[in-house]
């Protein structure tokens, strides 16, 4: 059954469920954060339309900083702005931010404990036609390894807005991951969001597997759980927007109850969310674990849904993997 306290949207499984890219939540979230805190800045590297940084620019032109195509400079500028009391959000595609500027983030933001919010847009294969160069699949791993770096991959545009506002209020470095494709808006303004808290979406009396998912694929996991339930395979679904710090209590509870766990992410299975869960389970509660994601390969051009299906990350693809896993 669905978790009533999650206050998910009424049209949850309707064909016409509202869709919006999580990057829209970056746009609306920075505008709201900028309204309450005049120190909030948005820096962008020549991608203001597609990152939605232009929404902030329109409201606060004097606090929007165009840096040109220079992501390394942008990261260290962020550090410098933080040093004089600003709250900079630095935005570009995840392939470049943190892909291009990893070392600047490491030294001038993480080690320096600068209050900078690193925003990686267009993450994952769902960027689509742009192809492998622009399909960042290693960012969660890169950012998760940095001491003191908080890592958040919101599930939809509504949650993304909440995450941005929460990140602005939090003092310290944060990585936020956003996607390009319009994905189902399955949460509502009533849905709770707290940094570091996982959100149970669905539970069952005797689940055969706990689906643990992050980012917009949590909706696909929820759909997969419904498909599986229709054929008599009960599963629970735990949405984990904050990858670091990880809600280990919620993950252990869900995994222990089901006796086996499946992780779902639009990222390499090495180093990212699945690895984080594996680290916790292997120490605290070793049990059968299946990690779904990209398996040590680069992406390619295609339509977002076509690519997710190809990599086994559509609802039916996830259901198929889970079905085989629980029967094994």
């Amino acid at each position: 059954m669905l978790n009533p306290e999650a206050h998910l949207c009424d049209q949850l499984f309707a064909d016409d469920i509202e869709r919006a890219p999580t990057r829209d939540g970056f746009g609306t979230g920075t505008v709201e954060a900028g309204t309450t805190d005049s120190n909030v800045l948005v820096l962008c590297a020549d991608l203001s339309e597609s990152t939605r940084a232009e929404w902030f620019e329109k409201e606060f032109p004097e606090r929007f900083i165009e840096v040109g195509i220079g992501e390394q400079n942008m990261a260290a500028l962020g550090s410098g702005f933080a040093a004089v009391g600003k709250v900079p959000f630095i935005a570009s595609y995840a392939a470049f931010n943190p892909g291009r500027n990893y070392e600047q983030i490491r030294t001038t933001i993480a080690l320096n404990r600068a209050n900078v919010k690193v925003c990686g847009m267009h993450a994952g294969v769902s960027v689509g036609p742009d192809g492998a160069t622009h399909q960042m699949l290693e960012d969660l791993g890169l950012m998760r390894m940095l001491p003191g770096m908080m890592v958040i991959a919101p599930g939809d545009a509504v949650e993304a807005k909440k995450a941005v506002i929460a990140a602005a209020r939090y003092e310290g470095p944060v990585y936020l991951r956003f996607g390009r494709a319009a994905t189902p808006v399955f949460t509502t303004t009533e849905t709770p969001f707290t940094i570091g808290a996982a959100l149970p979406l669905r539970d069952a009396a005797t689940p055969q597997a706990a689906l643990l998912s992050t980012g917009s694929l949590s909706y696909a996991a929820l759909e997969a759980a419904k498909l599986l339930a229709d054929e008599g395979v009960e599963t629970s679904v735990l949405h984990v927007p904050t990858i670091k710090p990880l809600d280990t209590a919620a993950i252990l509870a869900a995994a222990t109850k089901a006796g086996r766990a499946v992780t779902v992410e639009e990222h390499q299975i090495a180093g990212g969310f699945g690895s984080a869960v594996a680290e916790v389970l292997s120490i605290e509660r070793p049990l059968p674990l299946l990690r779904l994601g990209i398996k040590d390969e680069f992406g390619q051009s295609g339509a977002p849904d076509e690519l997710l299906a190809h990599y086994g990350l559509s609802a039916s693809g996830i259901a198929e993997s889970v079905r085989a896993f629980v029967r094994a």
Binding site: G68, Q72, F81, A83, T107
Partner: protein
């Protein structure tokens, strides 16, 4: 304001004391860079004892000028200058590079108040200094921001991203200083990766450029004063310095860029005598005094 003769003598004595402390720190640490810190002792004496608005007892004072050290490997000169200025006890200099020390091999802002940022990986300081300049200007503050870079560091691509951005933003409150000592780890800068004309490059990026002898304290102070009078652009001061300045035998020798006394080339002194001989030369004012002063 032109410093008096008496003030210059005071600053030269500070520079001498900073050099001694640098050598003592490096001898004790057994690793670290020698040439750059010695070459920059005059500039750091000028900054910490004349140019900067700062308060060693209140390193976070809002009204302070910001000195961003981009080439973090030369930090022994900054630590020495800070200790002499009263940021922390001179004794603590002996902990450089040791376990548990606040004086990390490359500077870390979170460990020692007054450092402004964490640096070491090259090419990142100017971006941070430029953002500080922009941010303080947004808030109507008048603090000045200084950024010290190495010349070899100019090889880094990010430097030029920052140069372009600071030029675009017309950051008149920003003064960058390049330590033009012509050496980097693998040799002379013009052999490793030619930099010239640095002046023409920065000017093309909309900076005002001044050049000065970086081992002439009076000239350096006057040049930085001149930079303050340029309102419509950021200013670069190309400070020509002598690497290893103060110890004749190692001056201009790139092999001393990354070596400490006791770890350098042995064509003048064997390793175990390097520390003692270098301090002796410094303390006898290059042999002009018959005995080392204590």
């Amino acid at each position: 304001m032109t410093p008096t003769e008496q003030e210059i003598e005071r600053l030269e004595a500070k520079a001498q004391a900073i050099r001694e402390t640098i050598l003592e720190m490096l001898i004790e640490a057994g690793s670290g860079h020698t040439a750059g810190p010695l070459g920059l002792a005059d500039i750091f004496a000028a900054f910490y004892f004349h140019i900067l608005a700062h308060d060693p007892k209140n390193p976070g004072w809002d009204g302070r000028d910001r000195l961003v050290l981009s080439n973090g490997h030369i930090v022994p000169v900054r630590y020495a200058a800070m200790a002499h200025a009263g940021y922390f006890p001179l004794e603590e200099c002996k902990t450089l590079r040791k376990f548990g020390s606040r004086l990390q091999g490359h500077p870390e802002r979170t460990r020692l108040p007054g450092l402004e940022t964490t640096s070491g990986p090259l090419g990142e300081g100017l971006s941070q200094a430029a953002a500080m300049a922009y941010g303080l200007r947004m808030d109507g503050k008048n603090n000045r921001i200084y950024c010290i870079m190495g010349d070899g560091e100019q090889d880094e691509g990010e430097v030029w991203e920052a140069v372009m951005w600071a030029g675009k933003q017309r950051l008149g409150n920003l003064t960058a200083v390049i330590d033009r000592n012509n050496i980097q780890i693998d040799g002379m800068t013009e052999d490793v990766m030619p930099l010239e004309s640095l002046r023409a490059k920065y000017e093309a990026f909309n900076w005002h450029v001044l050049e000065v002898n970086g081992n002439d304290i009076r000239a350096f102070i006057e040049t930085v004063d001149e930079a303050k009078a340029i309102y419509e652009k950021p200013t670069l001061v190309i400070a020509h310095t002598i690497p290893g300045k103060g110890v004749t035998e190692i001056e201009f020798d790139y092999r001393w860029h990354g070596a400490p006394p006791g770890g350098g080339p042995e064509d003048v002194w064997p390793k175990k005598e390097q520390g003692r001989e270098m301090l002796k030369e410094l303390r006898s004012l290059r042999g002009r005094l018959p005995h080392e002063y204590a």
